[in-house]
Amino acid sequence: MASPNLGITEHSHGAGEIPISKLDTHGSFDVNDFPVPNGREEEWRFTPLRRLRGLHDGRDIADGVVKVDVQAPAEVSVETVARDDARLGTSFLPTDRVSALAYQAFTEATVVTVPADTTAAEPVFVRITGVRQGDAYGHVLVHVRRHAAATVVLEYSGTAVYADNVEFVVDDGARLDVVSLQDWERDAVQVSHQYTRVGRDARFRSFVVTLGGDLVRLSPKVGYTGPGGDAELHGLYFTGAGQHHEHRSLIDHNVSNTRSRVEYKGALSGEDAHAVWIGDVIIGEGTQGTDSYEHNRNLVLTDGTRVDSVPNLEIFTGEVEGAGHASASGRLDDIHLFYLQSRGIPADEARRLVIRGFFADLINRIEVPELRERIMAEVEEKLALHE
């Protein structure tokens, strides 16, 4: 069979069919440069602002408490620094009001540095735990220097109303794998920006896994500082009843001969589960040899859910190596289920196998075994809720 997921209607466009009216490629550290969103703006129209619990208007009471623990091998330097540390905020400009607010409000930042030519033997774990519900702000900078390599796990848990900016700076020839696990308790709110700069011949891979929270809005943005850079953004979300999970990736191919892949997969189950995926790709003027593809796939497990899936591709040059996108949402394929059941496998187990299969190849590429198992177990747990 040609199409692996028969129950899913697929639509795929050639390059540049959908013009983008405005991409937020400009930014500012000044909160006042961004008006308070009213929900009609293109970048806010999918987000239920009421449920941001004030993160967007900037009440900044900072009555929440968030704890940051870092576990790293000896060769990696970990520092907690004050907000005036000169290294902070040099790799990005906040691209929306919440990002600017978070940068204005955080008190301490975590800086993780992997020295040049060093391969971190173990993953670095940055555990961000909300210990008292209330608004809180954070900042993390991960700098992987020339020809160094590391895996960094960001793990969000507990409860908070949290906004943060994360900077990933990947120098020339370096490699950085990131796993960002949004494993909040059910009432948490998070708005997060992950700004990445990929150096010459450097490689960046991210796995964004969003399972928890009431509302999670995460915006990974990637730009390149030299040719030959490669960025792969993988995402997985399981959006349960009443949850809002929003992922907004932006890849800016501002340099020639760069590659990007974006693949986000999600399952939705339960009344008012809402998932949003916005995939922006810009292929800059005067660039050559860009290779880009993005893909979003949603598995709709019950009635009452909502998916918004919007790929945007904006091309300013004729010299593109390859660019494309696809988006598909659908139910479990009853022919898949039939095949498994026709071999005696009971219906509920067949469902589990197919859903697990949907996520498996993504999860299997996460090179931290204990995380793989944990993520799969949590996916199963959420599945069990609706059986």
């Binding site: 022919i335 498994l340 496998i345 009971p346 067949a350 197919v354 299969g357």
Partner: protein, 255 residues
């Protein structure tokens, strides 16, 4: 001793929300364990529909008749219950299930059908042996179910499942088509190993007498216009091979 009976079976294919079409128009057929019945008939006559309808495919709806396995009405069972009761269908077009590994799938199936999980060690040995018997590279166990398999590889894996699940009734829908000479031999040997127990009844759907040289049928039925149009011994297959189905196609058309 198992008796598999199809009585007056009628079924529709569900085409759209409102649209359906009757394909099976009263099928009668009885197969006892130890017997092999070949079903031959022109394209579109409803052979696969018969196979799928019996297995419980969601695209087909049975409107009349019975299917009995030792007197039990199979049609009242869910798809998986039918399989656990001893029904097996090797599909003409096996389904790809992405991300579900073949080994995981086979273990789940064997566990379900046998009613208990086989010991891991014993099972992997059994699997290895069965794969070896069908000249299947062990690497396939780690791949997704039928994912990216060639036509012939898919057919071998259908027979692998036949051998592992040991059903009472096996419906083999064009298992021979798309196989080269060597593969045909390997697959036929697999079918014959399953038959050798004398405990399985086989319904072998095919267009060619080629496979019947290896898997000798006891009875041959001509299927046309959603019915069994004629039945006979193995010699009927040779008649069909030389004369074609014209006689039956015409007979149906003039009805």
């Amino acid at each position: 001793m198992t008796k598999f009976e199809i009585r007056g079976l009628r079924a529709d294919v569900l085409i759209g929300a409102e649209e359906r079409q009757e394909i099976l128009k009263g099928v009668d057929l009885t197969i006892n364990s130890g017997e092999t019945h070949a079903i031959m008939g022109p394209n579109g006559s409803g052979k696969s529909t018969l196979a799928y309808a019996i297995a419980g495919h969601p695209k087909y709806e049975i409107t009349d008749g019975e299917v009995l396995l030792d007197g039990e009405n199979v049609l009242e069972m869910s798809v998986d219950e039918r399989a656990r009761a001893g029904l097996f269908l090797a599909m003409q077009y096996p389904v790809e299930v992405p991300g579900v590994s073949m080994s995981n799938f086979l273990r789940s199936a064997v566990t379900a059908v046998r009613g208990e999980a086989p010991k891991l060690r014993a099972f992997s040995k059994e699997l290895q042996q069965a794969m070896g018997g069908l000249s299947i590279d062990p690497a396939f166990a780690a791949r997704g179910v039928n994912e990216g398999f060639s036509g012939g590889e898919k057919k071998r894996h259908e027979i692998l499942q036949l051998e592992l699940l040991k059903p009472k009734v096996a419906i083999l829908d064009e298992t021979d088509s798309g196989l080269d000479v060597d593969a045909l031999k390997v697959v036929s040997e697999g079918i014959n190993r399953a038959r050798a127990t004398g405990e399985v009844g086989v319904m072998l759907i095919t267009h060619y007498t080629r496979i019947l040289q290896y898997v000798r049928p006891d009875r041959v039925h001509v299927f046309a216009h959603g019915q069994v149009a004629e039945s006979g011994g193995p010699e009927l297959a040779d008649v069909l091979e030389s004369e074609g189905y014209e006689r039956f196609v015409k007979a149906g058309a003039s009805q």
